[in-house]
């Protein structure tokens, strides 16, 4: 196959060539973003009532499982999104956050079904539960912005899927950070609002962010 019909394009690309800085490995870029999440966690821990959080977690082991599930979902989804921002990585990376996601959903569901209440907590009425929604959405904005900026340096062949997995990382991180300010029992309404917030973030990421990623 002769390259002659494409000579003009090849010449234009070669003439306009500038040295490029090779992208850092995806795991390293994921660590940078997770570092930002950790910094926000430290800042929130400084103003949160940690004793109350400790009492709450000690009284209900399934809460630990839910926190562990959302934390691992954050890590897995972030790593998967950065891997998928490299053209030669398989789309099966998208499966990485699924096991911790199942743990997170399962443990949160168990919290609703648990008969005994955690001492010192109450069931949140809808207006208090809606604060959770606002917290998750509010924290997602800077986290999502930073993730988008880091992903933009890659070259995404499956923008919708990559953005949705990135959105899952952002939503899981925001839901994990919410635990610092979540003194009430996880009830069905509360859980439903969390699910709404997370679905919204993933949906917006898939539709809006996916279109803006270089492909």
């Amino acid at each position: 196959m002769s390259a002659a019909p494409h000579d003009a394009l090849i010449e234009m690309l070669a003439t306009g060539l500038r040295p490029v800085r090779r992208l850092s490995p995806p795991a390293l870029r994921a660590l940078v973003w997770l570092g930002l999440v950790a910094l926000i966690a430290i800042a929130l821990a400084a103003v949160a009532d940690l004793d109350r959080l400790e009492r709450r977690l000690a009284a209900a082991p399934d809460l630990w499982l839910a926190v562990l599930g959302s934390t691992l979902t954050t890590v897995g989804a972030a790593l998967a999104a950065f891997e998928m921002s490299m053209p030669d990585r398989k789309p099966t990376w998208a499966m990485l956050p699924l096991p911790p996601l199942l743990l997170w959903i399962g443990a949160s569901g168990l919290g609703c079904l648990r008969g005994s209440m955690v001492p010192g907590t109450h069931i949140a009425p809808l207006h208090e539960a809606s604060d959770c929604l606002l917290f998750i959405l509010g924290v997602s904005v800077p986290l999502g912005g930073a993730l988008f900026l880091l992903l933009r340096r890659g070259f995404v062949l499956r923008p919708g899927l990559t953005a949705a997995i990135g959105g899952l990382a952002v939503a899981a991180a925001a839901a994990t950070l919410l635990n610092f300010f979540h003194p009430f029992e996880v009830a069905a309404t509360d859980l439903a609002l969390h699910a709404v917030a997370i679905t919204l973030i993933i949906g917006v990421s898939r539709l809006a962010v996916g279109r803006a990623l270089p492909r």
Binding site: W93, F155, L157
Partner: protein, 191 residues
């Protein structure tokens, strides 16, 4: 997920080295690599079932994508696998766009105007007259529309090639061509 890296062939290592040099700004290495990519992508597109008329578009789109994605290539990994992943995606894009177009163009009145029935005993003189009227009408088009017609219809450049030559976006070229064809149709029908 994480896949075991197969040992790279000598050709693959050479291509990887050329890309590493291109990343450092070596235009000669880049030119050589892109020329080699043409054949590889051409074969890939054919294997994926891209129609003959669209293969060059897939090659060009892939070359442009390679240029934009250059920073993501890791010389420790296979260049050919990296190129194939991009080429495959561009081939799928072409197949999808063809499917959408065929769906839309089942009824395409413009096609009758563009490809007249040559079995009708048209006189050569009539054809020459029609050609003259067309040239005149093209000459009266606004500059951007005339440029789109000249590059895409007369010089038969692909969209990406025309975009590279004119510095306009592919979308803008499509819009200009569409408007130009509409203007030409009206102008020629009116005569």
């Amino acid at each position: 997920m994480a896949q075991a890296q197969r040992p790279m062939s000598a050709a693959d290592r050479r291509r990887g080295a050329l890309m590493a040099a291109a990343q450092a700004g070596d235009a000669a290495a880049y030119r050589m690599l892109l020329r080699e990519c043409v054949g590889l992508v051409h074969t890939l597109a054919r294997q994926k079932g891209v129609t003959r008329g669209r293969i060059d578009d897939v090659v060009q789109e892939t070359l442009l994508s390679v240029h934009r994605a250059m920073q993501t290539y890791d010389p420790q990994r296979s260049f050919t696998a990296w190129l194939n992943a991009i080429g495959e995606r561009r081939a799928i894009d072409a197949l999808r766009s063809d499917n959408r177009r065929w769906g839309r163009e089942l009824h395409a009145p413009l096609a009758y105007a563009s490809y007249p029935d040559t079995t009708i005993p048209e006189l050569p003189m009539q054809k020459a007259q029609a050609g003259g009227r067309l040239r005149l009408a093209i000459g009266r088009l606004p500059a951007a529309q005339r440029e789109a017609v000249e590059r895409l219809m007369i010089e038969e450049k692909s969209l990406s090639e025309a975009a590279a030559l004119t510095g306009r976006r592919v979308g803008a070229l499509k819009v200009n061509l569409h408007r130009a064809l509409k203007t030409l149709r009206t102008a020629l029908q009116g005569e």
